[in-house]
């Protein structure tokens, strides 16, 4: 009883002291966000995450005293859904999928850029209007471009090409003839690997999109993405047949078609740069440079040619990127986003060793990048952005149940032996009702 009395008194005392305590937020001078934590969540990890945090801490945090921190996750698509639904979203989420940003806009979780004080005309001048339009919902814009990459690239083993006198193909026919030539000379033409933990199957969707852009064209592509045509429309089925003629052809792919989903996409370029090489060509986006084995020099050991054209006169270029969605509105977060997208910040991020991220800011020049190949690619991307010729990766634009769900698993089942028509039908069936 006595102990109880003392404990109760102690509780009361503590409460009194608490009520009289100081607050320890600092002053509210402009640009001073001392101690404020800003959580940024995204899909890129390891080298690029470290580089981002290095620039953030020596830049924004040092200038304002804030504690902004970037966290990356290999299962970003899954984790961000859980965090948002659980009521604990990050302050800024860097989505590789604009479709998911639109979902958040629809649900009312993401905050419009207009409401945050951004001038859309200024942003369109900085990023081109296509990227901003991807995050547009009911007249307002919800995604701020933070990254862009080029996907219509084919990497190849340069020394072997030069030794055997191969020429880089410009059309699909030239490409398959080249592959047959390689087979005759005893090489395996292609390395394809779509393994990626929970996201297994996504590289195959990139192939499908490249083929769609070069057969059906940009307008049908847009209809495909927005579900104005069904997923198993004849145009899409035709693209599927062309794709199957590459991965299914005898001997074209190292390991055979059914191991494609078992090979991790990060390991899949390794046979191309080995000596003797296991394969000679690998279709992949620009970021793959950071996954090449140590000592591989771009331009010497490997080089790139653009994905060949297929139908006469049908041109297109596939790209991907990130749109940042903002979930909380505070002066610190606004200041952070403004700082993050500025040309200077983007330039210093690009100049970090090992970073493959390309800035969508058209004012960031090719010489900002540590890697010269990335610099060249960035030049062509910013040109495409300014000219409006780029299309965003379709699976990142589609609703997440398809684009990060059935499209991926459908590709895996197809390569493991499932029939193409039924796979595309089941992807079509999985499209959400209101989409």
């Amino acid at each position: 009883m006595k102990r109880m009395k003392w404990l109760a008194l102690l509780a009361v005392f503590a409460m009194v002291v608490a009520a009289c305590g100081d607050d320890d937020d600092g002053g509210t001078a402009t640009g001073d966000f001392a101690g404020e934590a800003i959580a940024i969540f995204g899909a890129f990890e390891t080298v690029e995450a470290d580089a981002a945090n290095a620039v953030i801490s020596s830049g924004f945090n040092a200038d304002t005293g804030a504690e902004a921190f970037y966290e990356g996750s290999g299962s970003f698509e899954e984790q961000i859904k859980i965090r948002v639904e659980g009521g604990n979203p990050p302050d800024v989420a860097l989505y590789p999928q604009p479709g998911a940003v639109l979902e958040q806009a629809e649900l009312g979780n993401a905050i419009a850029l207009e409401d945050l004080g951004f001038d859309i005309d200024e942003l369109e001048a900085t990023f081109g209007s296509y990227l901003l339009s991807l995050g547009e919902y009911e007249g307002k814009h919800y995604g701020i471009p933070t990254n862009v990459n080029s996907k219509s690239l084919v990497w190849y083993n340069k020394p072997v090409f030069e030794a055997e006198g191969y020429e880089t193909p410009g059309t699909l026919t030239e490409w398959t003839d080249l592959a047959d030539q390689m087979l005759a000379d005893g090489y395996t033409p292609f390395c394809i690997g779509t393994g990626s933990d929970a996201a297994t199957g996504w590289p195959a969707t990139d192939w499908m999109e490249d083929i769609m852009l070069r057969t059906a064209g940009g307008d049908v592509y847009d209809q495909w993405v927005s579900h104005e045509i069904p997923f198993n429309d004849p145009a899409v089925l035709r693209a599927g047949e062309i794709f199957e003629s590459i991965w299914g052809a005898d001997g074209y792919v190292l390991g055979g078609p059914d191991t494609i989903p078992d090979i991790d996409f990060r390991d899949s370029p390794d046979p191309m740069v080995a000596d003797p090489p296991g394969c000679l060509m690998h279709r992949q986006a620009s970021f793959i440079i950071s996954f090449f084995p140590e000592g591989t020099t771009a331009g010497v050991d490997v080089d790139i040619f653009p994905f060949p054209d297929i139908d006469d006169g049908v041109k297109g270029s596939l790209g991907g990127g990130e749109l940042g969605a903002i979930f909380n509105d505070t002066p610190a977060i606004r200041a952070f986003v403004e700082w993050f997208i500025s040309a200077d910040t983007q330039c210093s991020m690009g100049s970090q060793e090992g970073v493959q991220r390309i800035s969508p800011n058209v004012d960031v020049g090719p010489d900002c990048y540590a890697d010269p190949i990335i610099g060249t690619i960035s030049g062509s991307i910013t040109d495409a952005l300014k000219a409006g010729g780029m299309r965003f990766d379709a699976s990142d634009l589609m609703p997440s149940a398809v684009g990060q769900g059935s499209f991926w698993t459908g590709m895996n089942e197809w390569m493991r032996g499932e029939d193409m028509a039924s796979v595309f039908q089941s992807i079509e069936d999985s499209w959400p009702m209101d989409g």
Partner: protein
Amino acid sequence: MTEPQGTGTTLERRPDELPEGVGARVGLGALRILAAVAVPLLAFIVLWMTFEWLRDADANRGVIVLVAVLVGVVGVFTLYWAMDFMVNRLPARFRESIRPWVFVGPALVILAIFLAYPAINTIYLSFLDARSEGFIGLENYGFVFTDSGMLRAIRNTLGWIIIVPSISVAVGLGFAVLVDKLRRGEAVAKSIIFLPMAVSFVGASIVWSFIYDFKIFGSQTGLLNGIWAGIGNEPVAWLSQEPFNNLLLMVIMVWLQTGFAMVILSAAIKSVPEEIIEAARIDGASEFQVFWRVVMPSIASTLVVVMTTMVITVLKVFDIVWVLTNGETGTEVIAERMIRWFFRNSHNGRGAAIAVVLFLAIIPVMAINVRRFKAEEQIR
């Protein structure tokens, strides 16, 4: 506090002599409910007020934590003490029938809120559509029993609940018997077998994903492929070999759970009286016969406990499948399908229907367990 007695004794009326009459019984029932709800309700009010006040306070963090802990711990303790005091104030004949409700009440309330309500809500959700907006009747259940992925999941789950407990118990029992005969090193041997239980399912899955790893080119990092390729074969993508890959996943579960089976069965075996075993030996039984005819029947009820516990654990398996194969290549199980439909595909109706089916599947197993507990309670 004794009642004044005409007979001169100072005994209180026995607690089980409850007042007669409907009115009194209703009153008693109402008091019980009130007692059960009082502590959690008051605790909630006090804690909520403290939380509201603390949230707006600008004080030093350490002091806020101190206040929170003090109010939380001391406050709740005080509430229990106060309720006990109130119960003591009641007439003697009510006291002992009300008191248990005060102390069990909070647990019942929490169970009702966090267990009963979600269960009922899930059953309700299973009749609605993907966003839980429209009623669609039994469509989700139709899906559960016709979708090819779900049918594979049901087939695989049946495989899991037959194979994993049998093998775990068999291996665990074997170990228990053999380790029992060790003169020295028994504790070390048991610890080694038991160690995997300390690993989380996800941790074990990642460890085993390295063992099953497959590389098309170059040297293998996976142990299994290292051995397989080392003896001259082409490396194999083990986790994609249907339906064999299910067995590979089950191995992981067996590895995790055998220690549990072994420890419990070891205790049961040791509790078989020595005299019976001696008598059997004297009667000329071989070791084998001693084991099967004497020891096994004695530990039969423990075996049932272990088996049912393992079946319940296996019915919940999802992380092993999720991490290793992402539910592809024919390795689906019911719990993994539920998570997939709820969280990946955001389809509340189907996820709920699968959850209900899983719930119904567990009921018979729980019934066996409960029956046995009741039987043991009779023996006491």
